[in-house]
């Protein structure tokens, strides 16, 4: 097989390359340029000024929002992973192949319902007079303030990430060599202990990647912090919109966006390195 690109090969490989260069790389590069522009009279002007970077990085609010977002996203990643694991484990090991296929099918469905609609639904569940508090009321509890709390934001993140995390975990668990588990049993490793001694180490790559995806999704989401968290505390995605309220401060918003991208890349790099540590 000829491995060099020919006219024929370029016909297939170039379109995507050109498209992604034009409409993915250029926008991101433009975003970098934008972060050095200045705003005068509510109009952006091409410029090369560090002022947006120094202003944003000089503000305590920015770092607060950064810390909040990082914490929430990391929390969502851990929480979602922990909540998802028993589900993925049970689907992978306890269900017959037929039921398993159904379980996977059902987990795919949420991807096709609007996340907005689901978040809106949660509002109805969580509000003071909402479904949950009404039901708690029947047994004489509450009402509890559930909506507009960081907990509700986390709930939104879990809603967003859980199906994907379950599926990713599931696919790494399904491919675990069953004989490894049996070998552990065979060497006096009990049920629960096997999960920690064999199952989790074997599926590490998949588990870490799943958590990483939960992190990425939560880190950039603005729907849950606004509609379930009540905009309080401020996350980076909220800060992006807020920043523009000083009259067209898109360059500053670009600074936040670029910082977010950099953070995601570093986190992804660390996660992948951790996942593959000690492997060849």
């Amino acid at each position: 097989m000829r491995r060099r690109l020919s006219l024929y090969g370029l016909t297939f490989s170039l379109p995507l390359l050109i498209w992604q260069l034009l409409f993915f790389v250029f926008p991101l590069v433009f975003l970098i340029a934008l972060s050095f522009w200045t705003v005068r009279n509510f109009r952006m002007q091409p410029d090369f000024d560090m002022v947006n970077w120094t202003t944003m990085y000089g503000r305590a609010v920015f770092w607060q929002a950064y810390a909040t977002t990082l914490t929430l996203a990391a929390g969502a990643a851990v929480l979602t992973s922990i909540l998802a694991f028993p589900v993925a484990y049970a689907i992978a090991f306890k269900l017959s192949p037929r039921v398993q296929r159904w379980a996977i099918m059902l987990m795919v469905i949420p991807f096709f319902t609007s996340y907005l609609v689901r978040v809106y639904s949660w509002q109805v569940f969580l509000s003071d007079a909402g479904i949950i508090n009404v039901m708690l009321g029947w047994i004489g509890l509450g009402p509890y303030g559930l909506l507009n709390t960081p907990g509700a934001t986390l709930l939104g993140f879990v809603t967003l990430a859980l199906p994907l995390v379950v599926l990713l975990q599931l696919f790494s668990l399904i491919f675990i060599d069953r004989t490894l588990i049996e070998a552990a049993h065979n060497m006096r490793c009990g049920r629960l202990r096997t999960v920690f001694a064999v199952v989790i180490p074997s599926a590490r790559v998949g588990l870490v990647i799943a958590a990483l995806f939960a992190f990425i999704l939560s880190f950039g989401d603005f729907v849950s912090p606004i509609y379930l968290g009540g905009g309080d505390p401020t996350t980076l995605s909220i800060l992006i919109t807020d920043t523009t309220k000083s009259g067209q401060q898109w360059p500053r918003a670009a600074v936040i966006a670029l910082t977010m991208i950099a953070t995601l890349m570093i986190v992804a790099y660390l996660a992948v390195r951790f996942a593959y540590r000690g492997r060849k």
Binding site: R188, P201, R279, K280
Partner: protein, 365 residues
């Protein structure tokens, strides 16, 4: 049940295993004695692995009782038995180093760090892989992995070791090497080995006793010599594969001598191998090394059949020539190249194959 003087280490009494409507193992009786090397053989899917897994507690018997030292162990979970197993895939833990793999079973038994390490190192030494202690499994060769798997199972010094085709993934040269490692190990430690294999060569070279299974049933149990010389059933003869088999019916010829009437003709039977009831179905087996090839019909008291050559297999000093009779039965003859030189073999050419009645062996259908 075979009467035994010494109490068996393990005994299976009427053990069966069903998967849904499928029966993988049918009511099986088997005694395994302390210190013996027992091989389980049979074609793919005959239930060898299932039997082994029931011993290891990885499958529960559907019927019957498995006893260890006389005590039933049917309900003992895998992790409460000391029946370590060596897997075909080895099932080494890829996320642990060599020594951590070997320590695993000791850790599960709650041994302290230093004691664990000491005993693991001792076994690595014994298996001559001490120098790889800190390596990852992926950095080892096939033979080295095999040794790690053995060390990992033996470190708890069990009374019985279960092996499921442990050598099948190795190349030919390494296989022979590891056979001698295994056999020596078994002799020196006195541990009972239950060894599952496809390979006649492995089973016959290493085992004290061989169990031949077919479709979940035991067909024959015996020493390698017994089984090779006197297969009890047609299945066993077929399975060993070194014989040509003629199915037929017992009857008597014009002179009243017992013969087997087959679709390829009536054949005289070996002297000592007197037939039972006339009319009974039986098969005659003839080792492929015992057959002669003739361009013309042979003379004398030999049995003979006409057959066309259909192919040739060339293996080192010998060749196996394949023939087909007019009614479609395939026959094989194994000969050295010297013996074949003057026959001018060619595919499609007709020949005659013959054997002395004394080289035949009668088996049950």
């Amino acid at each position: 049940m075979t009467p035994v003087t010494q109490a068996p280490l393990v005994s299976l009494e009427g053990v069966a295993k069903h998967f849904g409507t499928y029966t993988a193992v049918q009511k099986m009786d088997l005694q395994i004695h302390e210190g013996e090397f027992l091989a389980l053989m049979g074609s793919s899917g005959c239930g060898k692995t299932t039997t082994l897994r029931m011993l290891a507690g990885l499958e529960a018997p559907s019927e019957g009782v498995i006893r260890l030292d006389g005590k039933p162990i049917n309900d003992l979970p895998s992790w409460s038995r000391d029946t370590p197993m060596v897997w075909q895939s080895l099932a080494l833990f890829p996320f642990l180093t060599v020594i951590e793999n070997v320590e695993f079973a000791l850790k599960m038994r709650g041994l302290g760090r230093t004691e664990r390490r000491r005993r693991a190192e001792q076994w690595l030494d014994r298996m001559q892989i001490a120098e790889f202690a800190g390596r990852n499994i992926s950095q080892l060769s096939g033979g080295q992995r095999q040794r790690v798997a053995l060390a990992r199972s033996l470190v708890i010094e069990p009374r019985i070791l279960l092996l499921d085709e442990p050598l099948s993934a190795l190349d030919a040269a390494l296989k022979v090497r590891m056979q001698s490692v295994l056999k020596t190990l078994q002799r020196e430690t006195g541990i009972t080995f239950v060894y599952v294999t496809h390979s006649q060569s492995e089973a016959f070279s290493m085992a004290d006793r061989v169990v031949i299974m077919s479709r979940g049933k035991i067909e024959q149990i015996g020493t390698p010599q017994d089984i090779y010389r006197a297969p009890r059933t047609r299945f066993v003869a077929d399975f060993l594969g070194s014989s040509n088999i003629f199915p037929g019916q017992l009857t008597r010829d014009g002179q009243g001598r017992p013969v087997l009437a087959t679709s390829s003709g009536d054949f005289a039977l070996p002297a000592g191998n007197a037939p039972g009831i006339a009319g009974q179905a039986a098969s005659l087996t003839v080792l492929d090394t015992r057959m002669q090839i003739h361009p013309q019909p042979p003379q004398g008291a030999r049995n003979s059949v006409a057959a066309r050559m259909i192919g040739e297999e060339f293996v080192g000093a010998t060749a196996t020539i394949h023939f087909e009779t007019d009614n479609g039965q395939e026959l094989r003859v194994q000969k050295s190249h010297e013996d074949l030189a003057d026959l001018s073999l060619a595919i499609g050419k007709p020949f005659y194959l013959s054997w002395s009645p004394a080289d035949g062996h009668l088996v049950q259908e």
